[in-house]
């Protein structure tokens, strides 16, 4: 207890220096907390983006001309309590889009309803201020398609579709909006109203994909129940995908993990540098401050104070600095993250950034376990710094005494 009090007194006596050390520790720890919570946030946002885009349970026809409506009826009758919404979708890949002299046949056009657009909107960045409404006769284009076609809001795009019987069907759409999304999920994607898609495919009322969003709180076991019930009755008719059950099998998530691995590598390098800086500065700071207290410590040593007590004294001092510094650092990181969370990727030049961010926003996740993990590393660096700093001081002192003799 005596050493604790003595350490606190020493820190209070050197207020200015102590404040500087605490601020420095706060700066370094806030940078570490920010980088780790940023990496956690990207995963959370990516998962949310995949959920928005691919739903909790995605069901599609096993055969090209199969009918999915019995599955829809079955789910509506048996699992309406678990479901938040069910979105029908028609996908068309054999299409071409024309606008004046420009042409593209890349990607997929989905026929869906406006609710789906509302659902995916949080993860997208629209080039216009207001969220466009997917009315019949309108089309929403991903920035890549818009750039290929040189399309802008209000322009007319001609879509040609070759039906499965070989009929070439054409329809004109007005561009209602252009969006930027995570390229891993929305590259070369366009949305039209489901009725228009059914008209183009010459198959009214036909739907080949169903996206089911489950209510919050529905557990994985219940999801597995739904899947097994559907599989039991419609195994030969449909393909079921629930990405959350095995995220590694989801292509977008797999690609995201690779991109994130690269970002992680850069951030971990940076974190190692931060830790090294903490170590070096603590070492240096304790070395110089103890050197400045040479007379006081020499007197104490003359009266029989052991080296281990000096180590402990420095350790307690560093503990005070560590606790205050990391607490302040954590708070600073939280405030900075709140400011950064207002940032959204809106510049088309930085569209690729969404692949690393997981979506259009900058998201931070202050997960207690990772905060503790980072805190542990800061603590170890501080301890090591204190140890080597004091060891160097004591070595120097012995050398000086020897040189005097």
């Amino acid at each position: 207890m005596f050493l604790w009090k003595w350490a606190a007194k020493n820190l209070l006596n050197n207020r200015e220096k102590t404040l500087k050390r605490i601020l420095f520790s706060a700066l370094m720890s806030s940078l570490l907390f920010l980088s780790v919570s940023f990496l956690n946030g990207t995963t959370i946002q990516m998962k949310e983006s995949i959920r928005e885009s691919q739903s909790d349970l995605f069901i599609t026809n096993r055969v090209f001309d199969g009918d999915i409506s019995p599955v829809v009826t079955f789910l509506a009758e048996n699992y309406s309590k678990e479901m938040e919404m069910m979105i029908p979708r028609v996908s068309c890949s054999e299409f071409t889009l024309h606008l004046n002299r420009y042409y593209t046949d890349e990607g997929v056009v989905y026929g869906t309803n406006p609710e789906y657009i509302e659902k995916i909107s949080p993860g997208l960045s629209w080039l216009e201020k207001d969220l466009p409404f997917l009315a019949p006769g309108t089309i929403l284009l991903d920035i890549n398609l818009a750039e290929q076609l040189k399309a802008k809001k209000g322009g007319n795009v001609i879509m040609t579709y070759k039906t499965k019987v070989g009929v070439i069907n054409t329809k004109t759409f007005r561009v209602a909006g252009v969006f930027m999304g995570n390229s891993l999920l929305y590259e070369n994607v366009a949305y039209v109203n489901i009725k228009d898609a059914q008209e183009l495919t010459l198959e009214a009322e036909r739907v080949n994909e169903i996206l089911i969003y489950l209510k919050k709180g529905v557990r994985k076991a219940e999801l597995l129940n739904i899947i097994s019930a559907v599989r039991k009755d419609f195994l030969m008719d449909v393909i079921i995908e629930a990405w959350e059950i095995n995220p590694e099998h989801n292509l977008a998530y797999y690609m995201f993990k690779i991109v994130k691995g690269f970002v992680q590598f850069i951030f971990y390098l940076l974190n190692i540098v931060f830790l090294l800086i903490i170590y070096l500065s603590i070492q240096d700071s304790f070395y110089t401050s103890y050197r400045a207290r040479k007379e006081e410590l020499s007197s104490l040593k003359t009266f029989g104070m052991k080296d281990i007590r000096i180590y402990f004294l420095a350790f307690y001092e560093s503990l005070y600095i560590f606790i205050l510094g990391t607490t302040l650092g954590c708070l600073t990181a939280r405030v900075v993250s709140l400011l950064l969370e207002t940032v959204k990727v809106t510049n088309p030049q930085y569209n690729a950034l969404m692949m690393a961010l997981g979506g259009a926003n900058v998201v931070f996740d202050f997960n207690p376990s990772s905060l503790l993990f980072v805190g542990g590393f800061i603590f170890i660096s501080t301890l090591l710094g204190v140890y080597t700093g004091i060891r160097n001081y004591l070595k120097m002192e012995v050398r000086e005494v020897i040189s005097v003799i």
């Binding site: 420095f24 940078l31 071409t96 004046n100 002299r101 420009y102 042409y103 593209t104 046949d105 890349e106 890549n144 750039e147 290929q148 040189k150 390229s183 690779i258 991109v259 690269f262 970002v263 850069i266 390098l269 940076l270 540098v273 931060f274 090294l276 800086i277 070096l280 500065s281 070492q283 240096d284 700071s285 070395y287 110089t288 050197r291 400045a292 088309p348 030049q349 930085y350 569209n351 690729a352 950034l353 692949m355 690393a356 700093g389 160097n392 120097m396 050398r399």
Partner: protein, 402 residues
Amino acid sequence: MLHNLKLAWTGFHRFRKRRKNLTIILVSIFFLMCFFTNIFFTLFNNMEKYWLEKVVGGDLIVAKSEKRLNIFRPIEPENYFNYSQFKEKYNLSGKIHSPRLRVPVVIENGNYEKGLIVLGVDPEKELSVTPNLDLAKGRYIKEGAEICISQEIAGQLGVTVGDEVIIFLYTKDGYVNVDFITVTGIIEYETINEYMGSGVLGFIPIGHLRSLQHISTDEISEIVFRDLNPLQKWRITRDYNIISGLATIPILVLIRLFFRFFLLVFFLLIVLIAFSSSYNNIQSSIGERHREMGVYLSFGAQPGMIRRIFNLEMTIYSLYCCLMGSILSTLAFVALNRARLYTDFSPVFQVFLSTSHFTVNYDFRVYLLSFALIWIVLITSSSKTIYRTSQTKEIVNTLTRR
């Protein structure tokens, strides 16, 4: 001067061991600076070799109204400009460059059709900016109705070298034009295909593409260049836009953004720590040398001379730290290069590192730059202490204080 140098050397030699702590910090900082700067310079260099020399060619000169460009996107005909006039005005003769005409077309072979961007190029000039372009089959275009397409497009259309395909395009005036064209070569983009918009690029001799577009003058959509000097660039940017070649590929924009972010944060922190450490250390070590300064003063030295001696000592000290740091970093690079980091196991790593075999090129300029930075930090952080302690009044006060 030699006398001062001798005194500075003695000072450095005497205090070298006492500054062990600062020496460790400065050597580590020099090592980190050299290590990361060389690694990132190698990555930037690899990117240029891998992406520019294979596909993009270099930086692009486009019309003022084209603010940004994606390599796989068209350019509007209103933004075409005259090559001869440009060449004459900005004196491009002798410079490595290639004029291009970027046109969206549709290629049809039997029942299959595919939209792609074709670049009308002068084959000789184009190969001078993209010397690493790989041909999987056939030969590069020469003249007339010839086209080179990527492996993926060839696969989708079911064509091979020597096949004749139909090309659809709009003329500059907006009419549809159709012609036959022979596939002479199939380009191998390897991993680039997967990450760069499916490699929807084709190459046609510029003269033929102009005739298909019904353009009689030598209009072009862009010029790719490699070696323009800053003055030429400055002159060009008054009338045109210069877009960095690496900024035309979205994935590279992301990679470069992270690399730059890392380097910026890293350098800011490293300078901060170097400054604060050396300030603290030097303050305490020079503060102890009043007696030495008193001796200099009693022998008739002026404060200016004392400052010079200490600055020289700092220079020798920074040289010493940098020498140790450079030995360490060179050893680290040698070890890293001997480890033979192959990236063949994952195409994604190849894209991020822009090479299939990662070796660090250690550049002497990086060592010089790091030394300069350490020296500046050391001199600036010590200047205040040196100035204060070298004042005659200050020394006399300290030495006569009881």
